[in-house]
C-alpha cells in the first residue's frame, strides 16, 4: 500500500519509513507559530518549565496580528508579552506593527514555510500552509510551549479524504467557492480529525492565493489539515519568495524540503474519495450561522447589508484585492454601507498602493486598514451592532463572531463582496 503526501511528510519528520492512520507519533517541527492571543499562554507555560532558551531561535515565529495595532490596554499588555519574549530569546522571526501581517499570509510570503515542511501554529487556520504541500496543523498554546522547549510534538496520524475537482471553473469562482461548496457538502464536522487532500485539474489551475484560501478553511470542516501536492505553481511561488527573502530565510528553502516535493502514491490509502464537477459550481455564500450553510449566490435572495469586509487570512491577498478593485473601479458604494478593506501584509498593502488599488477603494467610498485580523473575530476595526448584517471574505460566521450576538455574518469570495458593497445587498458581480 502506498502513502499519502501527509503520511510521507509525517513519517519523514518522525524518523520512520512509513506511518499508518491512527498511529501516535512524535515528530520534529520545522516551524512553530504563535500570535497575540495564543502565545501569552504558551510563554507562561514555557516560563513555568524553568527552561531558559527556545529550542531554535529561527523556528519559533511570533506574529501579534489579532488585536494589533493594540485595540486597548489589556490587548496591548498581551502583545507586550510577545515583544519582550521575542527580544529576550532573540527570535529571528518576530513581526511588530509596521512589518506585521496576518500570520497565514505573512509566513509564506516571507519564505518561512515551504513544501514538505511540518508546521504547527497555535492558531486554527495554520492549516493554510498545506497549500504549499506542507503538513500544517493548528494546535493549542500548551502544544506551542512544548514545541518551544523540545522542537517536537505528538500527533495522531490522520486519515485522508481525497477531493477531486474536475473540469473548468466558472467565471467569478475561486478557491474560496470550492472550499465553501465542499464544506456545504460535508458539513462542519465532515472531515473531523482528518486531512483534506485537494486534487484534480480545477485545483491544478488555481493560483497560490486561491490555494491558500482553500486550505485555510479546511478547519471549518473539522479537518486537521488541508493539503495540495506541490506542482509547478507551488515551486514558482516558493522560489520567488524564498529567493526574494533569501537573506531573511533561514534555513533556506532547499534545506527545509524534507521530502523532496512529496506527492501521494497512486495506490495511497484514502478513507474516502469525493468528486465534484466544477462546471456546476457557482460562486457560493455561507449564510448565518455556520460556514456549512452555503448556497449559490443566485439563490440567496434579497439580503440588505450594513457592512462588507474584504480581508483576513482567507482572502486578504493580492489576487483578492485585485478582483475587488476590478469590480469597484469607477463606482461608488451607497452612503449607508461600510466597506472595510484589509490587505493581509505590509507588502500586499504596498503593492496595492503601487497598482492604484487603494485609490480605487478609497474613491469607491471604502476604507483601507493596516493589516490585522481585527473584525473577523469581532476584535476591532469593524465590530457589528445589534441586528446588523455583514458580508465578509473571512472564514467564520458563527453567532456573534463579528460583534453583537444578534448580528449576522455572511461569507463569500472578494468579487461577490465588492459587488455586494456596491448594491448594498448580496449581489453577483455580473449583475452590476
Amino acid at each position: 500500500m502506498g502513502l499519502t503526501i501527509t503520511e510521507k511528510i509525517l513519517a519523514a519528520h518522525a524518523g520512520k519509513k512509513r506511518v499508518e492512520p491512527g498511529e501516535f507519533i512524535e515528530a520534529k517541527v520545522d516551524i512553530a507559530l504563535g500570535n497575540d492571543i495564543t502565545a501569552p499562554l504558551a510563554i507562561e507555560e514555557f516560563r513555568k518549565s524553568g527552561v531558559k532558551k527556545v529550542f531554535d531561535r529561527s523556528k519559533v515565529v511570533l506574529v501579534p496580528d489579532h488585536f494589533t495595532p493594540n485595540k486597548d490596554a489589556p490587548s496591548a499588555q498581551q502583545a507586550k508579552i510577545l515583544r519582550d519574549f521575542a527580544k529576550e530569546q532573540n527570535l529571528k522571526y518576530y513581526f511588530d506593527v509596521g512589518r506585521m501581517g496576518i500570520e497565514h499570509a505573512l509566513l509564506p510570503e516571507q519564505g518561512i514555510v515551504g513544501p514538505g515542511d511540518l508546521i504547527i501554529g497555535a492558531d486554527s487556520h495554520t492549516c493554510t500552509y498545506g497549500a504549499l504541500g506542507a503538513f500544517s496543523a493548528g494546535v493549542g498554546s500548551t502544544d506551542l510551549a512544548a514545541v518551544m522547549i523540545t522542537g517536537k510534538l505528538w500527533f495522531k496520524v490522520p486519515e485522508t479524504i481525497r477531493f477531486i475537482y474536475r473540469g473548468k471553473l466558472n467565471k467569478w469562482v475561486s478557491g474560496k467557492d470550492l472550499i465553501l461548496y465542499t464544506i456545504g457538502d460535508i458539513g462542519v464536522d465532515g472531515a473531523l480529525y482528518k486531512t483534506m487532500e485537494f486534487t484534480g485539474e480545477a485545483v491544478s489551475s488555481l493560483s497560490m492565493d486561491s490555494r491558500f484560501s482553500m486550505c485555510n478553511m479546511a478547519i471549518e470542516a473539522g479537518a486537521k489539515s488541508g493539503i495540495i501536492a506541490p506542482d509547478k505553481i507551488t515551486l514558482e511561488y516558493a522560489k520567488k519568495h524564498c529567493s526574494l527573502f533569501q537573506p531573511k530565510a533561514d534555513p533556506p528553502l532547499a534545506d527545509t524540503v524534507h521530502c523532496s516535493l512529496p506527492t501521494s502514491d497512486p495506490d495511497a490509502n484514502y478513507c474516502e474519495i469525493r468528486k465534484y464537477d466544477c462546471s456546476k459550481i457557482e460562486p457560493q455564500v455561507a449564510l448565518p450561522h455556520l460556514p456549512s450553510n452555503t448556497k449559490p449566490v443566485s439563490e440567496v435572495g434579497n439580503i440588505p447589508l450594513d457592512q462588507v469586509v474584504i480581508g483576513s487570512c482567507t482572502n486578504g491577498r493580492m489576487e483578492d484585492l485585485r478582483i475587488a478593485a476590478k469590480v469597484l473601479k469607477g463606482r461608488k458604494i451607497p452612503s449607508y454601507i461600510r466597506l472595510i478593506i484589509i490587505p493581509a501584509t505590509q507588502n500586499i498593502y504596498l503593492q496595492a498602493v503601487k497598482e492604484g488599488l487603494t485609490e480605487i477603494f478609497l474613491e469607491a467610498g471604502g476604507v483601507v486598514s493596516t493589516p490585522t485580523c481585527g473584525p473577523c473575530l469581532g476584535g476591532h476595526m469593524g465590530v457589528l451592532a445589534e441586528g446588523e448584517k455583514a458580508l465578509a471574505t473571512t472564514n467564520r460566521n458563527f453567532k456573534g463572531r463579528m460583534g453583537h450576538p444578534k448580528s449576522e455574518v455572511y461569507l463569500s469570495n472578494p468579487a461577490i463582496a465588492a459587488a455586494s458593497a456596491l448594491k448594498g445587498r448580496i449581489a453577483h458581480p455580473a449583475k452590476i
Binding site: 492571543i37 499562554l41 518549565s49 493549542g140 505528538w154 473539522g222 455556520l290 469581532g378 458563527f398 453567532k399
Partner: protein, 163 residues
C-alpha cells in the same frame, strides 16, 4: 479519578466563540474567563454552574478556534468533566494537554438531560446516569494519551521525558 455532578446540556457544534467570545481573550486568567464561559449558548451558565458539574454536549464540541482559553474557561468554572458525542480535534488536544477530563460517548450525550446527575469513573471508563439509572461504557484513551494524562498534562510529560 471519579466525579459526580449535575448535567448542563448543550447541542451540536458548540464553537469556541460561544465558549469564550474573542472580546474576552485579552486575559489568560481562568477565573476571569469563567465569568463568560459558554455565554454564546447560555447566558446563565456561568452564574448557575457549581464546582464539579458536568458539561454534556452533542457532536463536534469545541469546534473552530485553537484558543486554549476555551477549555481554560471551562476549567475556571471548576467543571469536573466534559462529555460529548464527538469533539473538535484542537479542543480535544487542548483538554488532554491541560488535563481537563473529557469523554466521548454518543449514547450518554444523547440521553442525558439538563440537571441529571452523572457519576463518572475515568479509570473504569464508565459513565453512570444516576437519574436515569443507565450505565455507559466509554472507549478508553489510547496508551500514548494515557501516558500524557498520567504525567498530569503535556508540560509535565515534556519536562520529565525530554528535558
Amino acid at each position: 479519578m471519579k466525579f459526580k455532578g449535575k448535567v448542563h446540556k448543550f447541542g451540536d457544534d458548540v464553537n469556541t466563540d460561544e465558549i469564550i467570545p474573542a472580546k474576552y481573550l485579552v486575559t489568560t486568567n481562568p477565573k476571569e474567563l469563567a465569568r463568560h464561559c459558554l455565554e454564546g449558548r447560555s447566558k446563565n451558565f456561568a452564574r448557575k454552574v457549581k464546582p464539579g458539574d458536568i458539561v454534556v454536549a452533542g457532536k463536534n464540541f469545541g469546534c473552530a478556534s485553537s484558543r486554549e482559553h476555551a477549555p481554560l474557561a471551562i476549567k475556571g468554572c471548576s467543571v469536573s468533566c466534559v462529555i460529548a458525542a464527538s469533539f473538535a480535534r484542537i479542543f480535544f488536544r487542548n483538554c488532554i494537554n491541560m488535563g481537563l477530563p473529557i469523554l466521548e460517548s454518543k449514547e450518554a450525550a444523547k440521553e442525558a438531560r439538563q440537571n441529571d446527575i452523572l457519576q463518572i469513573d475515568l479509570n473504569k471508563g464508565e459513565i453512570r446516569n444516576v437519574t436515569k439509572k443507565r450505565i455507559y461504557r466509554v472507549q478508553p484513551f489510547p496508551r500514548f494519551l494515557k501516558r500524557i494524562i498520567s504525567f498530569g498534562g503535556l508540560m509535565r510529560y515534556v519536562r520529565k521525558s525530554d528535558v
